[in-house]
Assembly symmetry: C2
Homo-oligomer: 325 residues x 2
């Protein structure tokens, strides 16, 4: 494998001249420049990028931490990240953690060992205190509304978004409202629960523990939700569902088991994935791809503008009325 020394020797110049030519440094005499390129092409030479990484102390690789890539919620974020990364010549290294703390730590360690320049965390179980141990190793972006001053954050205001859904359902005459959330302990879920409680309190409605479903992530979870609701003596008349996938599952399994949407149960869901359109589900659109883009941008700007202070950015949502309420 040819290296820069070989090129230098054959072109009759020094390695530094080769390096300058290769990196587009201006002050090189035209004939030397040509000589170098000629040899480079002749040998089909390519830089060893690891040597560049070592020498520069930078890899142009951004890490992406997520529980699983195989879920529309995350793959939409990633799509956004990937699009921006490509534009700026960055690469993406994936850490599929399945919410395993050890795997999450491994991703953070990659920051410390310089395998990645920065890390975008789409979702996590690890504590913020632990995260903070790594802030000096490189920029970290969290897709959550957090206050820690040293961590970047691009987020959806889930309190407001949930409130939007609640208000809509209430305006449509519902007061027996339940919800379906993902992981109940996540920061996003906490915000949603707060909105839920506040909204019910505003209309003096009581809270029913068995109208609150947790760990709802996939279409298949709709089956469980539908059969549980059917077995309930006192049923909710509406559900706020934090994922189009789950909402679709409820609509479809409801059809199978005899729970009609919206007649028996109104639904407002979140995401606005294609499936919600196909099923005519009223949904609150989350700008996930945009979130990915912004997350990358934050890291990019951090390096481009000499390590600026971490930013926080809130993204807008909108309700799309369809036929599930």
């Amino acid at each position: 494998m040819a290296n820069i020394r070989e090129i230098a020797k054959r072109a009759g110049v020094s390695v530094s001249t080769v390096s300058r030519v290769l990196n587009g440094y201006p002050y090189v005499k035209e004939e030397k420049r040509k000589a170098v390129w000629d040899v480079v092409h002749e040998l089909n030479y390519k830089k060893n990028i690891n040597a560049v990484h070592l020498s520069k102390g930078k890899t142009n690789i951004i890490g992406v931490m997520l529980p699983t890539i195989n879920h529309p919620y995350f793959s939409m974020i990633v799509e956004g990240i990937a699009e921006e990364a490509l534009r700026y010549g960055y690469h993406l290294l994936f850490f599929q953690t399945n919410y395993d703390i050890h795997k999450e730590l491994e991703a953070l360690e990659m920051l410390r060992v310089k395998q990645i320049d920065g890390l975008i965390i789409c979702s996590h179980t690890i504590s913020l205190e632990t995260l903070e141990l790594y802030i000096s190793d490189g920029p970290i972006v969290l897709c959550e509304d957090i206050q820690e001053p040293h961590i970047f954050s691009v987020y959806i205001d889930h309190y407001q978004a949930f409130m939007l859904g609640m208000d809509y359902l209430i305006k449509k005459g519902h007061s027996k409202i339940g919800y379906c959330l993902g992981r109940p302990t996540s920061i996003n879920s906490q915000k949603r629960k707060a909105a839920y409680k506040d909204a019910l309190q505003n209309i003096h409605a009581s809270i029913h523990a068995n109208w609150m479903f947790h760990h709802c992530l996939h279409m298949g979870d709709g089956k469980r939700i539908v059969s549980t609701i059917l077995s309930l003596a006192e049923k909710p008349t509406a559900l706020l569902v934090t994922s189009d996938q789950v909402a679709a599952g409820i609509v479809l399994w409801g059809k199978t088991y005899g729970l009609r949407v919206p007649n028996d149960l109104a639904i407002v869901s979140f995401d606005n994935h294609p499936i919600s359109e196909a099923l005519h589900i009223t949904t609150i659109e989350l700008p996930l791809s945009l979130m990915g883009k912004k997350a990358f941008q934050m890291i990019y700007d951090y390096f481009a503008n000499n390590y600026t202070q971490p930013k926080k950015e809130k993204l807008p949502v909108r309700l799309i009325e369809r036929a599930s309420v």
Copy 2:
């Protein structure tokens, strides 16, 4: 940032002893080993992984080339790859190409510049001839049935799978059968078309160009297919659809526009994603996650067994009868 020399100095040993301790090399006196670990912990030292990469000429990173991560077909493959990669301490670098040849080439170049040890290609537009230019740069795995002796291949026999679907539809009394494919030029599509033609020929049925839909990838494509079929004077009675997403779109948009499945149109689709179960769609299950695992395994074995000859492996499919036929 502390380096190995610093550790050596503080622990009162040589750099090679530090290296040996760090890498679990056996012949080190217990007290020196302890001295090293003590300093390592004290300084919270971590190896600079780029230096390791440069020194070893290997990165333990595998590239994954795909058009988009945001599609269940690909995210399932990736999930399989990621699972195996993690088990063996490998990392994944993603190349979202959107079928852009330049981006595909960029992924291949990463192989040449040693940024990645190997490359898994989930789908591509680039020609096999071009691919072959890179086989000396590292192992390449293709998720297609190809013959090139220097490229690894793990694949689904799409001829056989398509034939399975055709036979099933024919056995159920259909002869007016159409299909929905993704990119018509892909190797996988070629195999499917061949099976389609052969199957129709077997029953002396004629081929209708307007029963053959191409570029069907997403749920939204179902809309187009449904309205086209509704406008046809002579309609197919059955459709073989190469994606559950598209099949779901057909079922759902069919419901909206008045094309009933299976009454007006029978459907056999592919993948067996959760949505096909929720919609009771008869589907041919493709072992996509397994395909990802096998793809990674091939690369892993290649390095573990000193650069063995490229293998080819065919994966089984099975038809799951539900209610769309």
